[in-house]
Symmetry: D2
């Protein structure tokens, strides 16, 4: 940690600061520059994290040197992690497609969609039973009944299933019915929820918050790993910006940035990220080219009557065509689907 | 709701669309313009909200006419709401100051701070027992012990208390120990939590999410009101933008905007909004001038050793001076503190 | 244009509004809904654009139906435009790579870079002679001398050249020395400059402003086309968001969005967009997969000593490897490089 | 400047780096920490600014210690600057109101507005002759004729005038007709324009760019001061964020932040900042309370027929009422209007 002093910091202030640093068991190294005095602090920055040194008189700013996360970092674990869910591995050379309807609406529709996406090449079935909806008047999901449909259809068709967890009290249900527990963007900093899925060993798909920096995203994952659950898959799904032609701004830059900083697998959700079915194809291809380990895509047999997110869902036929094109891009970057 | 058709929409597509609108029990009114056909839809837009008409072939865009919230709106209730918490009224001519430490650290420190802020003019005591922290390695709060200290000190000093709720399972605890349950920015769209505090009758202080539009903020409040709890206080606490000289961008525009759209009281938190104690004073004054019904300000007797958010806390002495200045601004805009 | 009235609009207000609409030579169509009165206005919206109907008493909001641009739109010209610059066509099946140093620093360095990027597969040489720098103390470019070097080297190596125009008074110089005049992100809404390049017939590469919506970006291009210059190439180069791991947030969503709305060719600049050489490769591949018509990439033989933007420049060797990989992705999406 | 090395930096890399630092005439100070080696660099950071040390192998990041601007900083000049324009001083205890129509539309309207705003308490007359408009089809201003009207009316009523400069070629015109040259938000980084107004001695009102950080805003002012013109007034006018209930997000935090960092006077434009007349009053009061040295407010005798920005203009009567209320707030914070 580097502490930059104000140009007019007094000797008394500097001495007080040095004393406090030593009191924390750390070693200060003072450099007097032409315009500023700077103090480098040797020792574990963890100790410093809880100490707001910025407020000590004479201090202009404190610049941390180390990253605030550990277990999720490449430095902690240089080789990429592979997460295994219901027999499907995420984080290998093979790009894994998760597809299905936004919400589980009924058994038949789920079955038909699952059959179609599996045939097209998807490996994991997605479908929401608990739905986080901006308006209290929107469809809120089928709840446990939806989970049951999901498990049944997954078994029948032979696909592991991923579904959203909104409340820690539902973890036992999810552990029973799902192969991957999804934490949605709006719960990315629901820290109690993060800690509790951290105590499970079930794989967790963690979506990036709408206004989360990549550092905060990795810190949210760190919450889960710090409880012992290393089976975390990160998912970029769009951030909030001023642009309004897309529902969110899908930030594909996050893919190479996270790959550099962390060993965890990263997938991309172009359906929520763009909010519009006609942008899903180009952005899915771009995600694969950027190095994503997987994709999450909404497919609905009849978007006109979908109970949620119809405008961003692909028809099974369009999805099938897309997977064919994605395969070519995957091969071009040395991977498979 | 207005439906704008694509310039090349076919008669067949238009007929299909009209049919669907009628099937929903609504009345379409078709206007053929020089460049576009437009369909106005008469009837309750609630029905339309669940129907993604955008996906029907030939439709270019769907423009809702009505606001998506009801119970929180000025149209539903034109006169301003007053929320009463432990005998203090929020939403009247009197501007209510809530002050105290970021976290409850121990009994003594809380007591000293409470005494000082009460004497300065604060009416409600704040203090966190459950702390939402970006890093899993930061101080996470004292939990129930903190709640007990808060209740005891509040009683002793004679101040109602507000504290953050992070998990729905803690509602019984909060109902017992607190006068106002705070929902933090990171939980603003934790919809399960919103629904459950909606079933309580305890006042709720709802903080705006970091990336929440004002419409989404009002919809989050609507979740609470829709469950029957009308005792909601809204709190602007800064949004995420590109600017990095302040921790967040405190959006004071939200005050007059919400006052126009909603009957709910609005307060402002300049401590979290700016993240820096030396900006708290100017922004607190600005908030009062902009029409806020209250302020939430962090005060700590010794920010150097605070376990959280030291850099944004005021010393009791500075706080006392600030309240004096705030009183003058309040009077200038026809209010009191 | 649709005008939504306030719920309590009086008959007198409505009559006044209708009168004003008729005075503009337009035809109002009034629909009385269950909760609101709505007036659709038939006729050219151009007339309406200058009339702030929002301020007329009783009006709640005015919703334009048509897009605010014309000449740049797909509706005006459904087939994609091809811009020809010094014999190279942009907007065809072939993806065009523009490469070179950020700034022209001297003749030799430019020549070596040009030779290397041409051999690797770049078709157009980039290099700045006038540099828009955030700080007045940074290197400001060689000016006309730089333009001369650029033209000489371009001729020698056989590559058309693109360089930035910052001041309308330099248009004659650029017309003499360059094949494409670039308008930088910070000048995207320098409307006088846009109008004057609109009067030239030289191709213009228009970069998206840091905070420009896609609509504003297209309106900036409309300024150029409206003066008669249809040779416009659009360039996505990153927008400003809260994320700080990348210098800007390269918004690849803009590629399919613009392709849908406009006939103009779109290229992507991953060097400025990410600000970091190690993210240039993945984002360049993603841009090609998303449907970009070209790329602009910074290459410098010795980034350590570059006078500007060293951290985001590729070494010639790395660039050569990248083009090989880009070719594979191009083929995967049915194109060539 | 602090250079943080990668955890695995080799001795050879460190030696190379130290050599380069010495070659720049600077003194490296190496600290080997438990997890990282850090090099502090003593000497003028100006030299370092042009050297992209980030690209040298083994370097993880470079953290500047000093601010990138000088002449505009409080450190360079601790006491606040006062700018004098046509006899009116900006930056004193008196808060200066600049008011008038968005565009100069004709002589009569300008005269009536000027008379009204002067009587209400405005000290400086604003009015645009050259208009930066997002759409090429919007009213572009009266040009020189508008400037003449402005000068005539200003003289007649006895008010200095401020008007926008869009093109460096118009500086002689502005020097003749105006008392303050305004540089609009969209030209804040039009560096050639900044340099040329820097060579004038006429006061410059510099508006913050829509996506400019405060650091970039101060660097833009530094361009002007570095050419010798110290008569610069800064103007906060709203930044671009995701919020859409206001046209921009007026960032009042910028007022105390700039006051801390710079000696230049700061004013606020709530009309453009909010885009809606009914938010102008609350935000103007908030700006005064936050410490602004002045306000810029749009007033139009008949917003219904305004050729630009009607929705955000106040009627003269409303403006007169507002100034009365602003006076009370000014007094409350120890100032006058």
């Amino acid at each position: 940690m580097i502490i930059v002093l104000k140009p007019n910091a007094t000797k008394k202030q500097i001495d007080h600061l040095i004393e406090r640093i030593k009191a924390l068991g750390l070693k200060p190294m003072v450099s007097k520059g032409t315009e500023r005095t700077i103090i480098g602090v040797i020792g574990s920055e963890d100790v410093l994290r809880v100490q707001p040194l910025e407020v000590i008189p004479g201090v202009e700013k404190v610049m941390p040197v180390l990253k605030p996360y550990k277990l999720v970092s490449r430095e902690f674990k240089p080789e990429p992690s592979v997460v295994s869910a219901g027999g499907v591995k995420i984080g290998t050379k093979e790009i894994v497609i998760m597809a299905g309807p936004c919400s589980v609406e009924n058994r038949q529709m789920l079955h038909d969609t699952a059959k179609a996406v599996k045939q097209a090449g998807a490996r994991i079935l997605r479908g929401g039973a608990f739905k986080p909806r901006t308006s209290p008047y929107s469809f809120q999901g089928l709840g446990e009944e939806g989970l049951k449909f999901l498990r049944e259809v997954g078994k029948q068709i032979g696909m592991p299933v991923v579904t959203e967890l909104m409340d820690a009290r539902d973890i036992p249900l999810l552990e029973q019915y799902a192969d991957i527990m999804q934490i949605g963007a709006r719960n990315m900093q629901n820290f109690d929820l993060l800690k509790e899925v951290g105590q499970s060993r079930k794989p967790v798909l963690l979506k990036r918050g709408l206004s989360a920096t990549i550092t905060e995203f990795l810190l949210a994952a760190e919450y889960i790993l710090s409880q012992g659950n290393f089976n975390v898959i990160l998912c970029e799904r769009g951030i909030r910006t001023f642009e309004d032609q897309t529902r969110f701004t899908l930030d594909l830059n996050a893919v190479p940035v996270i790959k550099k900083l962390s060993h965890l697998p990263v997938i991309v959700d172009p359906s929520h990220g763009t909010g519009s079915w006609d942008f899903v194809g180009p952005m899915a291809k771009a995600a694969v080219a950027a190095g994503a380990d997987g994709l999450m895509i909404e497919v609905h047999p009849n978007p006109e009557v979908a109970l949620s997110d119809g405008p961003q869902s692909l028809l099974p036929k369009t999805f099938t065509e897309l997977v064919k094109e994605l395969r070519k891009v995957a091969v071009a970057v040395g991977r498979t689907i």
